[in-house]
Every structure is written in C-alpha cells, then in structure tokens.
Symmetry: C2
Subunit: 408 residues, 2 copies
C-alpha cells in the first residue's frame, strides 16, 4: 500500500457521492455526456481568491497566470476576480482577450517571443516582461515600425531562488530574464529609446509550501527592487513579485500558511523606502488559484487481477493527467489525492492500482492506493486537477483526444 | 560540456545545410510556411523497412505500431510497406482506416478499450488483442448483439521481461494482458463462445538496443507459445511477438544489430515443433521503423547570456518534444542528437544550451552541447523525432499549439 495525497478542503459528499458545485460526480458525468471529464468549481475559485485577498496586504494586486488553466469559461470567471492576467504566448494572449480581459491589465512573459507576438502585444498596449536585451531591441524596433509605444517591463534573473521550490526560476544561469547586474543599463536603454518602462518582473520559483521560504524570497525580491531602483535612479511603476505559492499534492504535504506570508509582506511593504511609495506591487499565481478547484473524473472500464494485484483500468490517463502520472518534472512518482467518486463516503476496503487506457506502463494514475471496492462503471476522481491538467498533457497521444471540461 | 546523442545514419549536407529528402532545412522551413516543423523522410522510412526485411526471416511479418507516429501521410506510406497495423485506440483505428489500411490487417491492443471501441472493431473484423477476461466477455456479448463474430487474440502477460528495455511490459503484475497461467482457460472460453480465436499477442518491453536481450526475449516468447499451445491443445493461427527494437538516442548508444536478431529468430523458427508449422508470426514496431526518419526543426528566436552561459531560445520546445526535454519516462535528462541545421558541416565552436519558448525551466532541448556558433534566425535540428514527438507531447501547453508536419 502506498499513501495518497491529501484531499483538498471543500469537497463533500451528497448522497454518498463526491459533489462539485453541489452536483454529484455521476450527475456531472451525465451532464458532460461522457468521461473523462475535468470539473472546475466556481465556488472553490471564488473562495480561494477571497481567502487570498483577506490574507494579503491591500496594496498587493493579484494576477492570474493563465498557464495554469486556460479553459475559456474559467478565464471569464477569473477576469471578474483578479486584478490582472499574465500570459505566456500569443495564443494565451488571444484567449485572455476573448475572455474579456482588458489589454492594459495583461502582461506577457516568455523567453521565446516571436516578432509577430511582440507586434500584437505592442499594438494592444500589453506589458511585455522582456527576457533579454535582444528582446528589448526587437520590441523597440517594432514600436517604431508600428508607431506604438512599447510597454516594457524587465524580467530580472535574480541571484537567489525559492527554497524548497518545485521549479527554480532564478539563482544562476537561466533562460529567463536578464541577470540583475545588467538590468539598470537595460532600463536606461528602454527609457532612452522612448519606450514606456513599466517596471520589473521577478520570478524566483514555483510550488513552495513553506511560508518561511516564500517570505524570505519576497524579502530578497524587495531588497533587489530597492537596489535596482538606486542603480537606475528612478522607481519602477510596477513590480511583479512572481508567484511560488504551492498546493499540497502528496502524502505529508501541508497547505501553505498564507496568513504568515501576508503578514510578513505587509510589514515588508511598510518598511519600503519612500522612493517606492507609488510603486504598484502584484503577485502572479496560477496553480495556487485554480489547482485545488479542479477534479478529473474518469470511469472504470475494466477491473483485473495480475499476479494477485488489482488493477482498475479507466477511460482516462496520462494524456490528460501527465503530472499525476509522475511524468512531468518529477523524479519520484507519488500518488495525487484520489477517491472513488461515487463511493466518496465509503471506508477503504482494498489496495488497487488505477491505470489509464494507454498502452504504456507510464500510464499510472494511482499506485497501490487504499480505496473502497470499485467495479466497472464506477468513477475515479483525481483531485488537484485544476492546474496543469488538460492543457499540460499530450491529449492526442495514442489517438485518445482531449477530455471534456466543465465549470460548475 | 555535455555529450549529445549520435546523429542517425543517412543525413547529409547540401550547400552546407542539413538536408532531408534532398531538400535543405531552410528550404523545408520555407515550404512549411513556419517553424517549428517535423520533417519525416520517405527515403529513410523505405530504407528502414527494406533493411529490416532483409535481416528478418521471411516467415516474419512486420506490423507498424502506429502509436509511434500517426501523421496521416506517413500512415499511407507505411501501409504500402508493412504487412499490418497495430492500433491502440478507436481514434487510431479510424486514422488507419482513413489511410487505406484494410481492417483485416489491423489489430487493436490497449487495456482500457471502451464498449463503443469494441463494437466498431468487431463490426469491421479487426483483431482484438484482449487484455483481460472481462474484455473477452464484453467482446463476446457485443458480437452476439451485432451478429458479428469477434476476432479475438489474447494478450499474454509473460512472466519474463525484456532485459535492458526502456519500458517493461511483462514480468510481474501489469495492467497489460492476461497472466500466462490463465490464458489456456480463456482461449477455451473464446472458442466455446463461438468467437474466432486469432492467437496470441506477447509484448515484453520496448526500446532495447542489445541484440542478445531481444534474442533471449524472443526465445522465451516462442517457448511460451509452445507451452500455451500444449495446454490449449490447438495451435494459434497468429502470434504477435511484440516489439522491443530500440534506436540510439543518447551518448554511447549503439544501433541494434538486427542481423543477429534475424539470424537467431530464423534458427528459432526452424526449431519450432510441427504443431506450429502453419502459425503466422509477426513483430510490431513503431519507434524502430519511424523514429530515426524524423527531424524536428525549430528556429532560434533569441541568443542570450546568463551568468556566462549561452542560451539559444527557440520557437519550439517540450510542447512538441516532451521526450527530448527529458520529461517523459526518463529519470536522468540526457541530450538527444542535435545540430544547427543550416550549419550542418561547420565544426563545433561553442558550448550552448538550447531551450524552448515555454515559461518553464523544464523546457530544455539540449543541455550544454558543443555546436557551431548560432544566432537568431538559425535553425536547430533535433534528430530521432520521428516517433513519440508531435503526438506524444502537450501541444497546447502555454497556448503554443501544434508544430507543422511534413513527409518528404
């Protein structure tokens, strides 16, 4: 038997079944017309943003990093909840615009922006988080060509990283941003070229659960902002402090203490020098806002025994849940939180492995989990499926095609 | 500096550029209209099948496991070259039919076949490689309902695996097939129910480069066929010996010695008992047939320095090349074979890391490789991109969308 990750707060049973947005899993599968299915909870999303706002200093704006989940109805909802959107490609930019996000509230980061993506962003007045001197020069030239003033922030490659982070985006040689010591010269170049200097984007890592690590990273980020401001001789209008707020996926993971993070950030804001009084600060969060709001439902197609072990074979798999299968940025495979959705209030009875329908041994959704007895037709729920699920998995692998998605 | 994998045989320079099918990389990119781009070589595919046929015993049929690459023009080509197709889903089945493959030459494996997939396959006369007793019962019931005789082979979960295999599909508890000791009873059930028993599918692993390991696996497979034949009292009409033939990806990898494999298999066929005289044998290969025939071309968008290291940022990335980025079924990231396509005959001059355009540190295509000097606009080629590239990667991740594909 292997442990499973903690089921996120806020999920309850109705008539013995897992319910999302007040609707049972089997009713949701019927409404969708088929499985597999991602279900995202409006209530959960609203609550998460409200809790976060309550914990953070009022001065801090909250941006949605839509790479976490670009499902159009969810984008429309998030547009009403957050202060800005961060996009990572021209494709995401179009999705954000289609969801009604105002271009002035969008920033665009990414180390490989093509000229046509820069042109589109500049013509719309989107803020570009520039990742290199070369990108700044391309943006300036495009601005001249289009007769539009580029809105250019500089993404800084900080010398520190986020301790305990799932993915480090700073500290040493990186493809992201400009090494901190070259930033002042680049800002001066932006200003001299007549572009609008929007400020800094400083992203040191993601998916951390330790409040102290995030507090330390934010303190280092603010110190770096002060230092850059001195070197430039002018304060930034905007500072994107990055993200890093993680969610619990695995056995033993504890939720991040956002109260502690918010209190420390409030004190840090109070201690900022006068020169930064008018600077706007934001954080950009993707996974933290949407990850726990999503559940992946997949139906059991076969129940089989091999060498004494029970396998539940589902109609889903890693083509929708690459990360849950342990094949995306993880070294050791561990179990995401999982349940038998239509037996949510039944006590565990047997140890089973839950696999997908793909013809590859990589396609394992849960390894030797202790669960209620389940048979063909029952529904498996994988939690923490709201971020980096549908869009971050190889949907066409083995001809399976994408899962359905619903916002309820 | 880190080593890169061996560039597959058969790729030459024309006018100093990597050429595929006699056309230079830059001309291919122009023809395609944009990068990134997968290019598959007809010549390479034909030569690979011809070489394989020359090495294998004449008695052995060669099937294409289309999970390796389902690009429609490539399927049409392969249909003219091989003896049968193996599909892994209803989606792949439709693609094979659309490419002109006759249903009688198709077999369908996969542990999570849905009823509607079984119905379609049975009504067409496709051979089902049944993965469990439960699936056999569903197929029998569907056959009765449709008034069609199901063509049922039994996938056997062998007690052995393929030594040195990249992915083990046998040996111990697995979601694939039926444990060998339960197979005779299941075959008798198929026959008793009036379905057509087609034989066995025995797949012990994939991506092995050691001829001795494959020879040993094939010998074990044939011994298992003999043993099952005795227990059943009737020989199988067809036996699918699985695959397992690997291709070199990484530094130090050597090509599989197919001459040795073919010679040993010929001797093994000669030594089979008389009861198996009329049995047809095939192997199913995906990666081995198509992997080295494909090249991924991506254009450099930025060249940047961070902490003294050079990064070439491209318009491609792990959204098309998940495996090359080291994020699909590998524990330690190693470099695929890579070159600067438009400087294919230039000697290496500098050490660079090649990254994709995605906003994640996972998106690394080549780590500290020794390559000719390259700048914005140059083309990077990643080799061994013919299998598990376009279809096995999260194409929509970060809003990037799929790469183009061409058969030349």
């Amino acid at each position: 038997m292997k442990a499973i990750g903690p089921i996120p707060a806020g999920y309850k049973a109705i008539d013995g079944e897992l319910a999302i947005g007040g609707v049972t899993a089997s009713a949701l599968a019927r409404q969708a017309g088929d499985t597999p299915l991602f279900v995202y909870s409006t209530d959960h999303l609203r609550q998460r943003v409200a809790d976060l706002r309550a914990a953070m200093p009022q001065r801090l704006a909250i941006h949605y990093a839509m790479k976490g989940n670009p499902f159009p109805p969810l984008l429309t909802l998030m547009n009403g909840l957050v202060d800005g959107f961060d996009v990572a490609s021209g494709g995401e930019l179009e999705l954000a615009l289609a969801a009604g996000v105002d271009a002035s509230r969008i920033s665009f980061a990414g180390p490989g922006k093509r000229d046509r993506e820069l042109e589109r962003a500049i013509s719309l007045g989107v803020t570009l988080n520039c990742e290199s001197e070369g990108e700044v020069e391309r943006a300036i030239a495009i601005g001249v060509k289009l007769g539009s003033t580029p809105q250019l922030a500089v993404r800084v490659n900080p010398s520190f990283d986020l301790k305990g982070s799932g993915m480090k985006m700073g500290g040493g040689a990186k493809q992201f941003g400009v090494d901190a010591e070259r930033v002042p010269a680049l800002v001066k170049r932006i200003v001299a070229a007549g572009a609008q200097w929007r400020g800094f984007h400083i992203y040191a890592g993601s998916q951390a659960l330790c409040a102290d690590a995030i507090i330390a990273m934010q303190a280092q980020t603010l110190a770096l902002v002060e230092q850059l401001t001195s070197a430039i001789g002018e304060p930034p209008r905007h500072v994107n402090l990055g993200g890093g707020f993680g969610i619990p996926y695995f056995p033993g993971d504890e939720p991040l203490d956002i109260g502690a993070v918010g209190a420390a950030l409030g004190e840090a804001f109070d201690a900022l020098p006068a020169v930064l009084t008018d600077t706007h600060f934001c954080i950009e969060l993707g996974r933290y806002l949407v990850g726990e709001a999503g559940v992946y439902l997949t139906r059991i197609v076969d129940r089989k025994i091999s060498h004494g072990e029970i396998f539940l074979v589902t109609d889903g798999g890693l083509h929708h849940q690459l990360a849950a299968s342990g094949n995306f940025g993880t070294v050791i495979r561990r179990n995401y939180p999982v349940t038998i959705a239509n037996k949510f209030d039944v006590a565990p009875q047997e140890v089973v492995s839950i696999v997908g329908c793909l013809c590859t041994p990589l396609d394992k959704l849960s390894d030797q989990a202790h669960l209620p007895r389940a048979d063909v037709g029952d529904l498996v729920a994988i939690f923490c499926a709201g971020a980096y699920g549908a869009s971050a998995s190889p949907a066409n692998f083995l001809g399976q095609g994408p899962a359905r998605e619903m916002l309820v």
